[in-house]
C-alpha cells in the first residue's frame, strides 16, 4: 500500500524503537522545562530533548529510508549536524544574558563577578 509495506521486519522494529525512545526523550526534556524550579536549572532540561531526541529520531528516519533506498538521507545528516552544533551556542548565550541581567538587577543567589586583584587593573 505505502512505502512502509516494503520495510523488512527487523528494520521496522528498529525504526519503531528508535522513534519511540526519541519521542520519549523529548517528552522528558520538555517535562523538565515545565517542572524545574529555577531558570538556571531549567536551562539544562531542553538540551536532552534537542540532542538526544533529534539524534534518535533522525537515526530512525535514516534507517527507514536507507533500507528502502527510496530517497537521499542527506537532510537528516544535516539536521543532526546543525542541531548538535547550534544548541550549545544558543543555550550558552542565553545563560550568559540571564546572568548579566540578574547581576544588573542584583538578585539574590547569583554569583558575583570576580573583583580584579589590587595589583592588576
Amino acid at each position: 500500500m505505502s512505502h512502509l509495506t516494503d520495510l523488512p521486519p527487523w528494520a521496522a522494529l528498529l525504526v519503531c524503537g528508535l522513534m519511540l525512545v526519541g519521542a520519549a526523550t523529548t517528552l522528558i526534556g520538555s517535562l523538565g522545562l515545565l517542572r524545574l524550579p529555577d531558570f538556571y536549572a531549567r536551562l539544562h532540561a531542553p538540551t536532552i530533548a534537542t540532542s538526544g531526541g533529534t539524534i534518535l529520531l533522525c537515526l530512525a528516519s535514516i534507517l527507514c529510508f536507507a533500507v528502502l533506498q527510496s530517497r537521499w538521507v542527506f537532510h537528516e545528516v544535516l539536521i543532526i549536524f546543525f542541531v548538535t552544533v547550534t544548541t550549545p551556542v544558543t543555550l550558552m548565550l542565553l545563560g550568559q544574558a540571564t546572568l548579566y541581567r540578574d547581576r544588573f538587577e542584583e538578585q539574590q543567589g547569583v554569583p558575583r563577578k570576580q573583583k580584579p586583584a589590587p595589583g592588576e587593573e
Binding site: 505505502s2 522494529l13 519511540l20 519521542a23 523529548t26 531542553p46 530533548a49 537532510h75 539536521i79 544574558a97
Partner: protein, 92 residues
C-alpha cells in the same frame, strides 16, 4: 509490520505534541523573558521533530526540507533574542 510503524508514529506524535504543549506553557507563563525564549527554543525543536515523524510516515521530501529550514532559522532567531536580552539591541 506496516501497522507497527504507523502506530508507533502515532504514539511518537502524541508524545511530541505533549512536549510542545509543555514548551508552549513555559512560553506563555514563564516568569521572565529568558524563560519565554527558552520555551520558544524548545518549541521549535519539538515542531521540527514532529515534521520528521510526518516525513517518516509519508516519505515526502518536503517535510525534511522544512525541518532543515526550521533548524537553521530557529537558531538565528534564538541567538538574536538572547543578544537582545543582553544588549537591548540586535544589530550594533
Amino acid at each position: 509490520m506496516e501497522l507497527a510503524v504507523v502506530w508507533s508514529v502515532l504514539v511518537a506524535q502524541t508524545m511530541l505534541a505533549l512536549a510542545m504543549a509543555f514548551a508552549l506553557y513555559r512560553m506563555a507563563r514563564g516568569p521572565r523573558a529568558q524563560d519565554r525564549i527558552l520555551g520558544l527554543d524548545t518549541l521549535y525543536i519539538n515542531a521540527m521533530l514532529m515534521l520528521i515523524t510526518f516525513g517518516i510516515r509519508t516519505a515526502n521530501t518536503v517535510y525534511f526540507e522544512t525541518a532543515l529550514i526550521i533548524a537553521v532559522i530557529g537558531f538565528a532567531s534564538s541567538i538574536a533574542l538572547a543578544k537582545f536580552l543582553m544588549r537591548g539591541e540586535v544589530i550594533e
